[in-house]
């Protein structure tokens, strides 16, 4: 029989936990690098849910979505890091609350 089947609910619980950690990290931390990491956590929580559903429903499109998300997340991280680097060059500290120059 091999490894026992892990139920879908467990995967989703883990996924939701990771997502909530990501959200809280994004909302509470002020260092942009940490915030990017929190965003990555949310991406991957979504990926985990996708993969779990793909397995549960025996439907490969969920796994295809995971690849797309990984690709987009990589692109997003590249752009965000570039922005963060530019901000670091111009300002001594990198607190997102300090760089609110585009407020209405």
């Amino acid at each position: 029989m091999g490894i026992a089947q892990v139920p879908l609910a467990d995967y989703l619980t883990v996924s939701a936990a990771i997502f909530v950690i990501g959200v809280i990290g994004f909302l509470l931390r002020r260092n942009p690098i940490i915030m990017l990491m929190a965003i990555e956590l949310m991406w991957n929580a979504g990926n985990l849910a996708f993969a779990a559903f793909a397995r549960h429903f025996i439907d490969m499109s969920g796994q295809v979505f995971v690849f797309i998300v990984i690709t987009v997340a990589a692109a997003e991280a590249a752009i965000a890091l570039a922005i963060v680097v530019m901000v670091f060059r111009r300002r001594p500290d990198a607190d997102v609350d300090e760089i609110s120059v585009m407020r209405g």
């Binding site: 994004f26 997102v96 609350d97 760089i99 609110s100 120059v101 209405g104």
Partner: protein, 647 residues
């Protein structure tokens, strides 16, 4: 033959429009005479083609003389209609019958003579090319009006002549009086257009079609009261266009336009469109006695009313305008009592002698440098012999002196009035004839005799050949035009008979009743005598009379204060309302609403602005809240409400 009868009306109709377009396109590139030549040739061409068409049609058997020609022809790929709004189908159709042909001959024939006259008269005017373009536009729309084969195309022509009239009255746009007169004419004519439009709606409601053929063919299927209403609304259009009571006040003011315009549009052709309309709609009026009687009474009242005003006016063109109004009153009266042939006959002779009178007056005005006040004329008979002799012929013709044209046509109308048992209308018509002879000879005496020349400008002799030739031709026609109808020989009725085959009452003219004819002639001579005594012999009688009748004179001179009444009745309330709206409703009401909308948008913007703090984490929170809300919404959809989900 079939092809000719199909293409000829189309060519006649569009030749003047084509001329106008050519003037508009090449006009600025050629000498100004080029525009005049194009205009004249296009109208002359239309006249020659009309004469040929008339010659062809009038030789057909009588029952084949009413042609309905539809465009585009059957072999074309297009369907046979111009507008198709089920169940109403409107074709572009022309109706060529003797009634239309008579009008077409006068429009193109007299129209050509006046075009020719304009070459000389307008020689010094600004906008020479524009003038000819407008005149061509007028001829085109007027032809459309009389050639149309259904009421919708008639209305298109009807509005078109109103437009051309507006453009030409206000041709001298530098003078505020001309612009105001043009506006007045347009507004009054549009009242009539609306009347016709309402008649069209009623026609559609009762007959389901606007085509002459179908409406006139089924005219008895509608009730008499419906036909009466249609007749009354059509009459409103006729009244406005033909300057009859109570919409007559625009015509005297329209004399602000150049004299050839007055001759063509406001004497010979356009103002008689009302007569045409009633003659054309004769199947309706034959079955609508109340409407027909109204037509007759309005015509008679206008004839008398305008003649009384004509007796005291001092502007040469205004006298002629009031006489036009009065003569059209005769025509309307004639068609109102069912004497369609007599009305048409008077239209023909009137077109000749009234265009002649305007042209002769135009020569005088031209030679006096624009002077129109007859108090500043006098003694011109020797200085302008051509103008004098032609004006004399016109005056004799309009006064109904034998053997000039007006005698025969007026006599025909008087005869028909008696034959149809309308003695009261006849009495007023004869009284009008007396006044007509009086004011026309008064005008003649004051202009050409009554002492020496009283004006300031030194008059120069009439020279322009393009002005003299048409005047002489029309003078000849004013002499011989009446001979179309002689005892035992009635060219008009026999020509018109096929067009009125469904009427059943087209009485023959030319049966001279010697007693009543002598009365009419005697009355005309009496009018001449009165004018002669007052203006050639007894100056002191004239002075004493005018002092004694001062209030009456003032009443007549101001045309019964119609303008004043309309001013207080319509203009003042409308202007008061408009200015009140401008002062109160516009800033408070309309302005308030728009300002409120703007203030609301600004307020929403201000409120939203507070959210845009620039703090990245606040945006993140917004996204999370939105996400939670979307999620909650989907949960609600999936479980039929949170309460249901909790069970």
């Amino acid at each position: 033959m079939e092809g000719y009868l199909r293409t000829a009306p189309f060519t006649i109709l569009f030749l003047p429009l084509f001329g106008m377009i050519v003037i508009a396109l090449v006009g600025p590139r050629v000498h100004r005479i080029g525009a005049a030549v194009i205009g004249n040739l296009s109208i002359l061409g239309a006249f020659v083609l009309t004469a040929m068409l008339a010659w062809t049609v009038w030789r057909l058997p009588p029952d084949a003389q009413v042609l309905t020609v539809k465009y585009p022809p059957a072999w074309a790929a297009h369907p046979q209609f111009w507008a198709h709004i089920p169940p109403l189908t409107i074709s572009f159709e022309l109706r060529i019958d003797s009634l239309a042909l008579v009008w077409m001959l006068i429009i193109t024939g007299v129209g050509f003579l006046i075009h020719l006259y304009s070459v000389g008269y307008m020689a010094d005017a600004k906008g020479y090319r524009t003038f000819f373009a407008y005149m061509n536009l007028f001829v085109f729309t007027m032809l459309l009006l009389v050639m149309a084969g259904n009421f919708l195309w008639l209305l298109v022509g009807w509005g078109g002549v109103g437009l051309a009239s507006y453009l030409l009255i206000g041709f001298d746009a530098d003078r505020p009086a001309a612009v105001l007169a043009a506006r007045k004419a347009l507004i009054m004519n549009v009242i009539g257009d609306v009347g016709i439009m309402i008649a069209l709606f009623l026609l559609y409601a009762h007959f389901g079609s606007l085509s002459y053929k179908e409406v006139f063919g089924n005219v008895t299927s509608a009730s008499q009261s419906a036909l009466n209403w249609i007749g009354i609304w059509l009459l409103l259009g006729a009244v406005a266009k033909s300057a009859q009571l109570p919409l007559q006040t625009w015509l005297p003011d329209a004399m602000e336009g150049p004299t050839p315009v007055s001759a063509l549009i406001h004497a010979a052709t356009m103002v008689t469109a009302g007569v045409y309309l009633i003659a054309r709609a004769h199947p309706i009026y034959d079955h609508a006695p109340i409407a027909a009687t109204t037509v007759a009474v309005i015509g008679c009242a206008t004839a008398f009313f305008a003649a009384t005003i004509g007796t005291v006016q001092y502007d040469i063109k205004r006298v002629l305008a009031y006489s036009t109004m009065s003569q059209i009153g005769y025509m309307v009266l004639a068609v109102g009592v069912g004497a369609y042939a007599a009305g048409t006959f008077h239209f023909i002779t009137h077109a000749f002698f009234k265009a002649l009178l305007f042209m002769a007056a135009g020569i005088i005005i031209h030679n006096l440098g624009g002077e129109q006040d007859i108090r500043k004329m006098g003694g011109l008979a020797r200085r302008m012999p051509l103008a004098f002799w032609t004006f004399l012929i016109g005056t004799l013709a309009i006064s109904g002196i034998y053997p000039f044209a007006g005698f025969f046509s007026k006599d025909a109308i008087f005869d028909q009035l008696l034959a149809s048992h309308h003695p009261v209308l006849w009495a007023f018509a004869v009284a009008t004839a007396l006044l007509t002879a009086y004011y026309m000879f008064r005008l003649l005496f004051l202009t050409f005799f009554t002492g020496e020349y009283r004006g300031e400008h030194e008059p120069h002799a009439d020279r322009s050949f393009t002005m003299m030739i048409p005047t002489v031709i029309l003078a000849l026609l004013s002499v011989v035009g009446g001979w179309l109808v002689l005892p035992g020989h009635d060219a008009i009725s026999s020509t018109l008979a096929p067009a009125f085959a469904d009427s059943g009452k087209l009485p023959r003219m030319g049966e001279i009743n010697w007693f009543f004819t002598s009365i009419a002639t005697l009355v005309a001579v009496l009018g001449f005598g009165a004018a002669y005594v007052l203006y050639q012999r007894g100056a002191e009688i004239r002075v004493r009379l005018s002092t004694a009748l001062r209030p009456l004179r003032a009443l007549l001179f101001n045309a019964y204060y119609f303008d004043t009444i309309y001013h207080w009745l319509f203009e003042v309330p409308a202007l008061t309302l408009a200015s009140d709206v401008a002062r109160y409703i516009d800033p408070e009401g309309v302005g308030g609403v728009t300002a409120g909308v703007a203030r609301a948008a600004t307020g929403v913007g201000d409120a939203m602005r507070g959210w845009e703090t620039g703090y990245l984490r606040r945006y993140g929170l917004s996204m999370v809240i939105g996400m939670v809300l979307v999620l909650a919404f989907y949960l609600y959809l999936a479980h039929g409400g949170i309460a249901a989900g909790m069970k």
